[in-house]
């Protein structure tokens, strides 16, 4: 199954969210963010069971040039972490929305109102240039 970027929710900090009918949010980072970061070398991920607040820093991704914190676009408990991802960061470039998922979070089921739909997010990216 392949995830459609146009159907996802986005945080202004470039994380994407796929919220299913059971309230499980799958979280990743957008292709725009990956392109901006460029040449990823390291990703630090949290533990399963961690309770995240909305906007809380949950890890970091590091490129050749800089470290960027990752912020949770949802609130809830981490139920799964994509632990193979940090060793295969090169795949994130080609497949940010399927292979590139980072966390699964058990949420209340409501998408936070701060999140943007795809057209709004694309507009933000275009403005960021």
């Amino acid at each position: 199954m392949s995830r459609d970027p146009a159907a996802l929710h986005y945080a202004d900090t470039h994380e994407w969210v796929d919220l299913d009918s059971d309230g499980i949010a799958t979280v990743g980072i957008s292709s725009f963010a990956i392109e901006q970061l460029n040449d990823l070398v390291y990703m630090d991920l949290p533990e399963v069971g961690t309770i995240l607040e909305l906007g809380q820093e949950f890890g970091e991704v590091e490129s050749v040039k800089a470290v960027s914190p990752l912020y949770s676009p949802v609130a809830g408990e981490i139920i799964e972490v994509h632990s193979e991802l940090p060793d295969q960061l090169e795949k994130l470039n080609d497949d940010p929305y399927d292979f590139g998922w980072i966390l699964k979070v058990k949420t209340s089921g409501e998408a936070p109102s701060q999140l943007m739909d795809h057209p709004t997010y694309q507009k933000q990216c275009a403005e960021a240039g």
Binding site: A33, N38, V41, Y42, E60, V64, K65, V67, S68
Partner: protein, 374 residues
């Protein structure tokens, strides 16, 4: 991710439009808008190590000294001897304050124009240009025959660095630049226009740095790109410039050196001629040399994939013994590398730990540079 900083009131180099046209990602650096990369930093880094890379280094300050006494003035200001610098010679030096702290690290060249006019050229860091101009200004009064001219805005500077650089671009110049020795410079012509060619660089590779008039910059840049197209030349940004200089263990001002770090602890003793000379900072540096510097710059290979960055504490057991000055992934070695200033009593330790934002990572000391060309 955080949003990138917005840029305002920044200076542009004569190659600014070229960078934008080629998709350069522009970032503020030392008051200029500069390309950090065009595509991939790693690809640009690799082009430099295997073929050649072009860097716009027009932001670096270029100060010209004319008139009798120029070499005496510079000799007084620099930690390295300038009086015996022959025509065509280039030297790396530091400029220090009276305490021996580094105000800047520079290249000084002694050049002769086709009309036999001789002058000295000082290339300073972009971030330090105004400070250095202010530092030198009062000393000019003691050397009334010397004039200092800031040539930065009138000229552009292009570095062409890599194993294929000299061979491929040699044909562009009126004189045979392959006969130029390492750390030598000459004024020649490219397409009937004057160009300073200096066999120097900041990547650990062979290559040249070219200084041309600002209005010639785009033409020269494009000529070099065209000349090297089949050989795999690539334009490279500040990102690759940083990973390349780190592998070559070259200091970056504000990191390995600053006003509270002296050149001896930074491993730049070779750039300090302390015998039989008088220059600003000489007494302090002699005293530091006699007692031995209290810290030393060392190289570290960091375990795992996570780079240790500037500011990370370096530990032996639970004791902080130093701090990372620069660090990042090494595209050539495939592991993270770092340089650190370590207290003297611990500078021979083999196994350190680095505190990377709360997590301890092992690091092994290694000799510098991390990379040396064959």
């Amino acid at each position: 991710m955080n949003a990138p900083d917005t840029t305002s009131e920044l200076l542009k180099t004569p190659l600014d439009q070229w960078h934008r046209d080629q998709g350069g990602v522009m970032v503020p650096f030392a008051g200029y808008e500069m390309p950090v990369r065009y595509d991939s930093i790693v690809a640009e880094h690799t082009a430099c190590r295997t073929s050649a890379a072009l860097f716009d280094v027009s932001h670096m300050g270029r100060l010209r000294f004319d008139g009798d006494g120029s070499e005496e003035l510079l000799d007084h200001l620099l930690t390295r001897r300038v009086r015996d610098l022959a025509i065509g010679g280039v030297r790396y030096a530091t400029m220090c304050n009276a305490e021996g702290g580094v105000l800047d690290d520079v290249l000084v060249s002694h050049l002769e124009t086709p009309s036999s006019r001789r002058y000295h050229l000082l290339v300073v860091n972009a971030s330090n240009r105004q400070k250095i101009l202010r530092w030198i200004e009062p000393h000019l009064a003691d050397f009334p025959t010397v004039t200092m001219t800031d040539r930065t805005d009138l000229t552009a500077m292009i570095a062409v660095q890599g194993p294929m650089a000299i061979e491929i671009i040699g044909r562009l110049f009126k004189t045979d630049i392959s006969r130029l020795g390492y750390y030598q410079a000459t004024i020649t012509e490219q397409f009937s226009k004057p160009v300073i060619v200096s066999r120097t660089g900041y990547t650990g590779e062979d290559g040249v740095e070219l200084i041309v008039r600002a209005e010639e910059a785009k033409r020269v840049w494009e000529n070099v790109m065209l000349c090297g197209r089949d050989a795999g030349f690539a334009a490279a940004g500040l990102g690759a410039r940083d990973t390349l200089r780190m592998e070559a263990a070259m200091p970056l001002y504000g990191h390995e050196i600053n006003e509270s770090i002296n050149p001896l602890e930074a491993g730049l003793g070779f750039a300090c001629n302390l015998k039989d000379r008088s220059f600003i900072g000489d007494e302090s540096l002699r005293a530091i040399k006699d007692s031995g510097p209290t810290r030393r710059r060392v190289g570290l290979l960091v375990e795992g994939k996570r780079p240790a960055r500037e500011g990370c504490p370096v530990l032996v057991g639970d004791q902080i013994v130093g701090e990372i000055t620069s660090g990042g992934p090494s595209p050539t070695l495939g592991v993270p590398i770092a340089m650190a200033l370590i207290q003297r009593e611990h500078d021979a330790v083999e196994n350190f730990e680095i505190d990377i934002r709360g997590k301890r990572v092992a690091a092994k000391q290694t000799s510098l540079p991390f990379y040396k060309r064959k």
